[in-house]
């Protein structure tokens, strides 16, 4: 059964509990230069017309339906997990060419300097297959992050799926093509 990550920015205060949970779950050795798959942002963005927007965000792989990183990888490290729909990987043959990062509009794949290979969020697919929530979702005290079944998401009428951004990108692409013809 496919799963969808949802994120409600109105509920996020960038407390970074999700990052700590991600680091713990994936045994990420920060001292050795490894990077957490999830990133939080507490960022002030100044508008040209004046005023400041305080952005509180938690981002990781959006698990796009038609994930461009899969097609970009020359050695076939990245694939879709048939049960959860998450974009997973096996970096045994990763050559660290960063083609996946060049394909990803969200900067999700990270380069691990220690072994020269790429890593990314796999949605904690093994946890999810065993009926648990991803580590980041479990740690979120404010209900900003969630991971729900695709069907449940559709029925909820929500527009908070992380991969909604991708749908918007595709729409733009179609528009550009129409202009070209």
């Amino acid at each position: 059964m496919k799963h969808v990550f949802t994120f409600d920015p109105d509920r996020c205060c960038a407390c970074s509990s999700c990052m700590i949970a991600c680091t713990d779950q994936n045994d990420i050795d920060l001292k050795a230069g490894e990077k957490c798959f999830r990133k939080t942002y507490d960022t002030e963005v100044a508008f040209k017309e004046g005023g400041i927007y305080c952005a509180y965000l938690s981002t990781a792989c959006m698990h796009c339906e038609d994930a461009p990183c899969i097609a970009a990888c020359p050695v076939g490290c990245i694939s879709k997990d048939s049960d959860t729909g998450f974009t997973i990987y096996d970096n045994t043959n990763c050559i660290g060419c960063k083609s996946c990062a060049m394909a990803c509009p969200f900067g999700a794949p990270r380069y691990n300097g220690a072994d020269g290979k790429m890593v990314k969020c796999d949605g904690c697919y093994i946890r999810v297959k065993h009926g648990m929530k991803p580590a980041c979702v479990r740690a979120c005290s404010f209900g900003a992050l969630d991971c729900i079944m695709e069907e449940e998401y559709r029925n909820s009428g929500s527009d908070k799926a992380c991969n909604v951004l991708i749908d918007q990108a595709n729409l733009r692409k179609k528009e550009a093509l129409r202009r070209w013809r």
């Binding site: 952005a55 660290g96 960063k98 509009p105």
Partner: protein, 423 residues
């Protein structure tokens, strides 16, 4: 029954076969390949040479036998197609065999261009494109007989051969006919940094050097002689001056060919029922709105998927791409996004440098070209923003991208510069 022929079996051919099979379980799909190996990315050859991957890892879709069974194809191995009649959709093989199809995909890829020069066939002179080329170089380097190397062509392939030599502890020289490295994608200012960083790693560089011919020395070494008279002597010489789409066999076929085979957004050529995809074609390029040859594994796969679905009766379009060049070598990465040749003296220039990044960006009315060094993890975010500014002027620069760039150490001035098209 839909009879489909796929000519050439790299990423585009494979993805077309997989997509066609998915859409039409009953179609007859014949594949003609001049190779006996499974599809692979030519870029992997140099990674095999340096030992980053095993030989088998070069073939992510498996062997031809495995693919034939998995996708229910009929694969004609070592069978190069030598001609095509576009009107009757008939293909010809060198042994006189011919066969007609309902749909044909041209996915013949590209080949390393080696000019027909004197001495080009001397032992120790090699090119780098195929798995065979990789096996040849690996053996050569592992033999321990190579004490110096020369790479002709500061191209994306040339730099990877330099890396292979450096990783084997072999002193090497890199020469190019242009005035600087990666000249079709790098600004002079970017290249100056690339040169400095290469020289710091002990690589000798020479530019403005056009190869004339290669001579054998009495001591067994070989010398590349330049048109200006300069001579570069080494134990091995790599010629990496560029690649050309494999489209010569289409002469007199009726299929429209520029540098590559011209296709529309459905990857259809000028002739109905004949498609092209991958490194052999010229497809929609977003920045110019024209058709260009962009040899990227990603494009080949996506274009193949689109062509395969269309050959099986579906309607699918390839969204196009921007000109992209990513070089990753010796713990260094350089990306160029957009068309450096479109930049003019009167354009606005943005430049930034710190200990992590070097960025040079040029815009006229819109962004034209970005060069970035050291930004590997953020390249996709910037590329996506670049493409968005051509796709939709009204698109807002999204907060996630802004936060990512700020959080990754990009200065606000850069975000302002690339976001100027957006509201």
């Amino acid at each position: 029954m839909n009879k489909i022929a796929i000519i050439g079996f790299g990423a585009a051919g494979y993805c077309a076969a997989a997509a066609a099979r998915k859409c039409d379980p009953d179609a007859l799909i014949d594949v003609y390949t001049d190779d006996g190996r499974g599809p692979y990315n030519p870029m992997l050859a140099t990674y095999y040479v340096k030992g980053a991957i095993d030989y088998e890892a070069m073939f992510p879709f498996g062997s031809l036998d495995e693919i034939e069974e998995r996708l229910n194809l009929c694969i004609y191995r070592n069978s190069a197609v030598t001609g095509l009649d576009g009107e009757t959709k008939t293909i010809f093989l060198s042994d006189g065999t011919k066969a007609a199809y309902d749909n044909i995909l041209i996915s013949t890829g590209a080949a390393a261009f080696v000019p027909p020069i004197q001495g080009g066939d001397l032992p120790g002179v090699f090119k780098m494109r195929t798995a065979e080329d990789g096996v040849y170089l690996k053996k050569l380097l592992d033999s321990g007989k190579i004490r110096s190397g020369l790479v002709v062509g500061a191209s994306w392939v040339g730099i990877k051969v330099v890396e292979d030599l450096v990783e084997h502890g072999i002193p090497c020289t890199l020469v190019d006919g242009a005035d600087w490295a990666f000249s079709i994608a790098a600004f002079r200012q970017t290249a100056q940094r690339i040169h400095r960083d290469l020289e710091q790693k002990g690589i000798k560089l020479a530019f403005g050097q056009m190869l004339s011919h290669i001579e054998q020395e009495k001591d067994g070494r070989i010398t590349a002689v330049m048109k200006n008279g300069c001579r570069f002597t080494a134990d091995a010489i790599a010629i990496c001056i560029g690649v050309r789409p494999n489209a010569a066999f289409l002469k007199d076929s009726g299929v429209a060919v520029n540098r590559g085979v011209l296709v529309d957004e459905r990857m259809s050529t000028n002739l109905p029922g004949i498609y092209a995809a991958g490194d052999c074609c010229e497809a929609f390029e977003i920045q110019s709105g024209e058709r260009k040859n962009i040899g990227l594994w990603f494009n080949a796969r996506k274009q193949g998927e689109v062509a395969g679905a269309n050959m099986a009766g579906r309607r699918k379009a390839f969204g196009g791409n921007a000109l992209l060049n990513l070089a990753h070598y010796l713990d260094y990465d350089f990306i160029s996004i957009g068309d450096v040749a479109s930049c003019r003296d009167e354009d606005q220039v943005y430049e930034y440098e710190d200990d992590r990044y070097y960025i040079r960006a040029v815009r006229g009315e819109k962004l034209k070209c970005l060069n970035m060094i050291g930004t590997g993890e953020s390249n996709g975010v910037v590329k996506s923003l670049f493409i968005k500014c051509f796709e939709n002027n009204q698109a807002e620069m999204d907060m996630t991208s802004i936060c990512h760039l700020k959080g990754s150490g990009f200065p606000d001035s850069f975000i302002d510069f690339i976001g100027r098209d957006q509201h």
